[in-house]
């Protein structure tokens, strides 16, 4: 009987403690910087799209929610003709971010993506592409890679040396 009365008293004192509920819409939760939520496509420091439509993110995706089509512009640079992520399927695992060789696709801590119609959860490239560089500010894929595209010939990358002419006099 005493334990029953003690339980009643303890429960009563709980009224005077702070509540555990976080007041959500008024108070936002603390999210660490690497929190995996909304996916974005980023641009180079030069302002061009990073995505080269290599399909590695679509291949890595466990739920197959990414769909894209490669195309090449007149300078030889590849870009995605369309890039569609179905956010009702996406599980925000981050595998696409790990797979991307150009740091184009990234996950940001923005989770407030609720919609009334399921169709509005399929994001196209214009919904995903942002004008900034995202989390990786200095990386420019074409300056690291050796391929020749319009505006950069072989040997003009950051860590490249100019190609040697093997038929000349190498001294």
């Amino acid at each position: 009987m005493i334990s029953i009365l003690r339980t009643i008293w303890i429960t009563f004192t709980h009224a005077f403690r702070k509540r555990e509920t976080k007041g959500y819409p008024e108070k936002k939760p603390f999210l660490p910087a690497r929190y995996r939520a909304r996916i974005i496509l980023t641009r180079d420091p030069d302002g061009k799209e990073r995505c080269v439509a290599c399909n590695l993110c679509a291949a890595a995706c466990p739920t197959d929610c990414i769909s894209l089509q490669a195309a090449e512009d007149e300078t030889g640079r590849r870009y995605p003709e369309f890039f569609r992520i179905n956010f009702s399927r996406c599980i925000f695992c981050g595998y696409c971010e790990e797979a991307c060789p150009t740091n184009a696709i990234q996950l940001t801590p923005d989770f407030e993506m609720a919609e009334y119609k399921r169709q509005n959860l399929v994001y196209e490239k214009e919904n995903l592409l942002i004008n900034g560089t995202g989390k990786y500010h200095d990386y420019n894929f074409y300056k690291q890679a050796g391929i020749e595209i319009g505006g950069k010939k072989k040997g003009e990358g950051d860590q490249d040396e100019l190609p040697t002419d093997v038929r000349g006099l190498i001294t």
């Binding site: 429960t11 009563f12 709980h14 509540r19 509920t21």
Partner: protein, 313 residues
């Protein structure tokens, strides 16, 4: 003519209290469980009451085809009828009582016995084994706890010398009966909470959380009547406890007596909600055992001791 206003006033007050209980219970339960209750609809959640009522009215009111139709419809009505009839006996304030009968206490006990019918009829009419089991256990619990509910009140009747609720309140002018009759009060509190099949004695409805429960086949306004009937039951039990043991409408003069009555009633409603928040549900045989083997002898002891003391005076 005045009696018509009194009846209207009592009815209005009682229905309002039962409706506000919907909100108060959820808020208080939440307060004691470290969370907020509904605090978004309206001024800090008070609009939850009309929202809930609109929801219950608009739900589909379906009678199962395998159920016993007339009994099914009758059962929730029985709850409301018996409890509202009992409210006619309660003295809210010196002139504010619908019927001042001199066997009011017996009538109250009689009406609560009739209230057992609602559980039995609901379980039977649902034509569902689990409802029936819930209803049978519920009715066994309610009938057995009624025995010492009545016995524990006899101490109060002996001291005040009358069954009329108004005379009992008048007899408490010098000392509230909770002091000489503390054992009677404790037993009556436990028995009354069990009688209104309310946690922690809520086997009829939350055995339900496991399987079904005597009001599992009910939806819409019939379920609403069971639900509000349960809150009315708590309010009735609180008012009776306040009348019998805590001095009814007696209180210092700087506030009207009705206010003191309502304040004390609210304290008891909050206490009953606290019991729901704090205590786990005992097993069915455990509380039948406590009822018959512990509380019944204690209430008989209470009567014997009270009678002995009164005779010695």
């Amino acid at each position: 003519m005045v009696i018509a206003f009194v009846i209207a006033g009592v009815l209005l007050m009682v229905i309002t209290i039962a409706a506000i209980n919907i909100f108060i219970e959820r808020r208080l339960l939440a307060m004691w469980q470290d969370r907020h209750g509904p605090n978004r609809t309206g001024f800090h959640g008070i609009m939850q009451v009309p929202a809930d009522m609109i929801k219950i009215f608009l739900k589909e009111d379906w009678i199962p085809p395998f159920a016993d139709k007339w009994v099914f419809v009758l059962a929730p009505a029985v709850v409301m009828i018996t409890i509202l009839l009992s409210f006619a006996l309660v003295p809210f304030a010196p002139g504010f009582q619908v019927a001042d009968s001199n066997i009011a206490l017996l009538l109250f006990l009689g009406y609560s016995s009739l209230g057992v019918y609602s559980v039995v009829l609901a379980g039977w009419a649902s034509n569902n084994k689990y409802s029936l089991i819930g209803a049978m256990r519920g009715s066994a619990q309610m009938i057995s706890y009624e025995v010492f509910m009545g016995l524990s009140l006899l101490g109060v009747v002996m001291i005040s010398g009358s069954f009329s609720l108004k005379s009992i309140v008048e007899a408490q002018r010098h000392l509230w009966f909770v002091v000489p009759q503390f054992l009677g009060f404790a037993i009556f509190l436990i028995a009354a909470v069990a009688e209104s099949h309310r946690a922690p004695f809520d086997l009829p409805e939350s055995e339900g959380e496991l399987v079904a429960g005597f009001h599992s086949e009910y939806s819409g306004i019939k379920f609403g009547m069971f639900f509000v009937g349960e809150y009315l039951g708590i309010t009735l039990v609180s008012t009776i406890i306040v009348t019998l043991f805590f001095g009814g409408w007696l209180g210092p003069d700087f506030l009207p007596p009705v206010f003191w009555f309502l304040f004390k009633t609210f304290c008891f409603i909050a206490f009953i909600i606290l019991l729901r928040a704090a205590l786990p549900r005992p097993r069915y045989d455990q509380f039948m055992e406590v009822g018959w083997k512990i509380l019944l002898p204690l209430s008989l002891l209470n009567i014997i001791i009270t009678a002995a003391i009164l005779l010695a005076k």
